[in-house]
Symmetry: D3
Subunit: 280 residues, 6 copies
């Protein structure tokens, strides 16, 4: 019958069901299309409206801080691409709910539901207080540049624990700046093209074993602050570069203000962004 | 007059006012006596009763999750010895309040009140998933062995951020097992005598500059899983050893059960203790 | 006369006489053609029939465990490409004769005959018990994945000794999987094209000084488990990649069986292949 | 009854049966006494006469190259202290039988008989071609200084394989010079007192988990070429020093003959001792 | 007016005034053209005649050992490209004046005049006594191969001091062999094309913050002795390679003379060039 | 005869003739006595008066910048202890003569006269710009804290060159603060007792081979900024500690002025001492 035919066709996709959190965001939107080819069913979720839902998609509006809802969300899922939560500096109270409590809910549910792997959107802001005159590899000490960055360190520690304790694999993507194009000179260094981002997720999902991996999400830009040599087992080879965007920014002599932290540290403006007062 | 005389005498102590959190606990009780010599005023706090309060002490019952109370607690404080919070595996919800929200409150208040230094009771459980056949130094990757351990990693990241951002110094003490005597063979390795613990706090408070430091809190035991070489600038030289307690445990052939995580990893029983279900 | 003319022509080749062991094997066959351009005379040897012998070739059927025969074989040789011996898991007794006694005979004879350099076919199975989630460089600790791998470690140690003791140079090629094309997904990572293999031998022979070098023999595949940075003085820059063969294998979700050693370790099926019982 | 009483008493010793190979040698003789306290039964073996056999001992004259005899030897054994084989430079043929074939027989039998741990007498000659102006730790690259040293490298690789493959634990003791007293100035650096040797074996047997460990066997001599920091999990703390023997050697200006390998390398006279011709 | 118009145009160039020392030399001549695009005014200096002076150039014949002249030379300068001094082995007395006293004068003046950055022509001869069988990164220990190399080490130390003390930034270019084409086989490894040299200077001048950086100046040659990974923050990606010149040198078997220092060490002939006697 | 008798007696001392430069200084004076036991003849030199000259001594007033005089001074010398030159911050011109030209003269003469070894008084000020919250080992990057420190870096590079080029061995002593007792709290960390200083020189002279070695000259003080592990082949084991002097300095709360370089860096007051203007 038609059903069973489409079932067979569907069965040829590598994953049965993938969960994409933060599906309404910038990167979630980019990724949604690609996932169709990788899974029979793509469950998409966000706290914001998810737009048009495709045939192969299941949509759910869920607050990650809602434990019961998150456990339901993870049912029947093979693997998760977790882009949800807050991805900029914010008051601690907000970060606590979205990036700490929410992440715990996600991992607790994933483990209980037998999920095998999480691709976790960490951030270069987990190491943003390293100076711009250093190249950090994936073993570099954590140097969060913001409370947001601190919550990303939390996520890397929590997922490490779930791997060591239960074998639940995670790839932590320390994503740089993934936009249509760099918005300022710093982003020439941290730029990750959408195409490279999707490829990075692909590598993270399909590499047979990843353990608990950390990898920097940057394109093959001319200037590099990060070194992915030790993550080469993931097979991520970026195809794009920010060179094409260098003309957007005026070539200028260095602004060698030795005391400006936003110029000294890899995190850029983030290093001064926090801590933010709660909106009361 | 008498007052001004005693003022002068008091003024000869190195610190004006120290804050000790977790003052009612095992280690807090040990430390309370020593602090009298180091500060004119010792503010002691806990959520449990604090017992008899000495002349040089100020006592306050405070829940660290209570933001306003914590800000009041930090007023006029030179330096903090933070032993408060939960120090064993516990349901995530409890750890979130005590060790995450509570710690944020502490640092947020410390920074605003101009506190110069925090001595933070981290734990060897921040790296407890390293195998017992390795020796970890202070740059070893984080490997929390429990949700409790994850919260200690959070504390190390948060305090790093406050140092990089504001210059608020912290010494993270990765305390082993500080009891009257070791309670099991594993503690022969992780034992920290009370005397050595107090000396470690002394070094952490009085070393002129510490930046953001990490140091293992263990006595000079025969067997070592940790290496403090890179923390030698703190001047901590333990005087005690667990050798005197080795006779307490029967000498036995190795229990080489290759699959028992509590024997394979430095964290011992902690590695299986979590995650705990909330008490409902 | 004609003879002396051709002598002069021949004399323009860089080497006077090269010895190729294992010349009847898969890689030996590939290499035989290339050697014609590099040496006036190529002495080819194997325990198996060597097929048609070209004008510039000298053929000899020799068992490497035969000490006297090996000493004769090395006479008048400038350099050796040693592909001989057993290159898969085998009973220890067989490995002992071919890869241990045979190798000792080769080095003992080479040293006595004044040979200057050996290009030694070591194997990635000398380090095959490293997990697939690590990238190993040429200083990584030895982790043989089979008795075969142990004999390759022996070869690396023995050749190191002959270099330190007598200055006899060796390049140890830790060859991955050099076949017409990858035979399974693991070989997408370990694939070494024939062209790149020949280039690797060329670099090993012609680099002016190599000391005792170790280098991984893999093409520029997308996924990498090895890092040749410290061997860059050999000038090996692979031209091929297994990307063209990825379509041969069905894209599938990870088979995250945490307990399957053939998936966890770089050596793949080798890690379970041994020890083999002798055929009696 | 008497029997059952003594059985019970015996049962209080940590090991049921230990096997000591090389029991008739210098170090074997030293150790034999100590083993009485650690095991109900001590099986002692050598190719040389074993002298008087104590009540708790089982004696067997065995050639390690005799596969069947070795398998019988390992029956019912908890752990092995393997001092057997050749411990000086010798013709390769002899080393092959004693230190390669013999060692394989030992491990093959140990694995099949369910032995849990081997304490293996490796040697500083596995790294003897490191210069005397370096301090090597346990991860230093192998640099055998003799064919004997090459066989010790073989032993370290083989035992690593048996650990990774079967979980059979080994501690490789890179023993320096363990004699009544140093016989030359070099031995002031490599001296291991008999008392410290016995303690090193004790640590190797009784540490609960050792995995595959490497440790240098030297006393706390004034001058050090080795660094055991990473082996501190074994708890070996030497009590003796060669300082008491320094007076035996005339204080002299350095013999700075830059070209004398026996002065340049840690292996001393070993670096020139081999390869030895077979005695024919 | 014309003046003010050209002023405005000029003002659009990134630098106001650059100083180029050694402007009459081989590399200075190459660079002079490129600088026109980067600065309104290029001050060129040498002790040799400077040829035709362009409109945007200011020329000055100055001996760097002349303190007062050097201070005048640095007035009004934004950044310096320092190619001046002696760039080959020479009698110590000459090196002392040009490369030590002269360099001190330059930095002393630069600091007093508020110069922000120096691009300093160091040399691979600062590390030329590393063997050709090693790949050195930018943290490799200094191993000068000549008195000239010693003065380059001095320059790296002096510039480090001026950065740590005053924040005056320097990029030390460890230039290989920058000529029209390689002159001998060694230069196939150390070759730096003129185009890549100019790009390296461009990166060194325009990277926003460089601190005190070290980078090897070599093109993307097939064989590499150096590793610039840790300098990737400078964005230097060489476009050229010496491969096109390999045909110039006859392919030959290795000249494995173990005792020839010019073949053993990266510095080549420099390692025997000094110390030179003064010309008297 | 009497002469020949005393010759024979003298011949029993390890060295025939030692040269001590800087013999009139603080440390030179300390050392002079000890040298009597180590050499038949001790040649002492300084630019200042040398006081009473003992029977076994040869005294010479020499300016190290006087090339001819230095060459004469080195005649017939086995080994040199070079304490001469300037040991505090000074105008560059003075440092250039004493510590650069003077040092070159010394090494040039030593090499020509066949001297075998130099014990060179380098300084912790060669690495004084490392922060006080780090522990530096002997491979730590050079971070001179003064022009004086830069000249000590020069000395380490120059002596490295003479070793690599000619085999002339040097031990660079990075001496801390060697006085009767510490003069300020910083010196509690850098204190080197006179007894330990003399022992350090003894080790440097009598260790059979030293190559080009670097070692920190500090006693076994409680707080350490340096790590001599890699120099353990010298056998230096300090006997003294500054603990006995801690009572001299008032125990105070940290002076956590984040911007005071003299508190932040190991070099203490040196980091601000230079560059000094010449005395004109």
């Amino acid at each position: 019958m038609t059903d069973s035919n489409s079932d067979r066709a569907a069965a040829q996709k590598p994953f049965r069901r993938l969960l994409l959190t933060g599906a309404a965001g910038n990167l979630g939107t980019q990724l949604r299309g690609a996932l169709a080819a990788w899974a029979d069913v793509v469950r998409v979720t966000d706290i914001a409206p998810l737009g048009e839902v495709a045939d192969h998609e299941e949509a759910a509006i869920v607050d990650l801080a809602d434990e019961a809802a998150v456990h339901a969300l993870l049912e029947g899922v093979d693997a998760v691409i977790h882009l949800g939560g807050i991805s900029v500096e914010a008051p601690f109270e907000d970060l606590l709910e979205a990036n700490i409590r929410g992440l715990y809910n996600l991992y607790s549910a994933a483990q209980k539901q037998g999920v095998k792997r999480v691709v976790y959107a960490s951030s270069n802001h987990a190491v943003g207080f390293h100076p711009v005159t250093e190249v950090v590899d994936i073993d570099a000490p954590l140097r969060p540049d913001s409370l947001y960055g601190v919550t990303k360190c939390f996520g890397e520690s929590l997922s490490r624990y779930y791997f060591d304790r239960f074998g639940l694999e995670t790839v932590c993507l320390r994503i740089g700046s993934s936009f249509e194009q760099p918005k300022n000179p710093r982003m020439l260094v941290t730029y990750l093209s959408y195409r490279d981002f999707i490829e990075l997720v692909r590598c993270s999902l399909f590499t047979n074993r990843v353990g608990h991996a950390i990898v920097y999400g940057v394109s093959d830009n001319r200037t590099k602050w990060v070194d992915n040599t030790k993550a080469a087992f993931l097979g991520f080879r970026p195809q794009d570069s920010s060179v094409q965007f260098e003309h957007l920014f005026r070539v200028a002599a260095p602004t060698a203000d030795l005391d400006d932290p936003t110029q000294r540290f890899q995190g850029g403006a983030f290093v001064l962004a926090g801590p933010m007062e709660p909106k009361r």
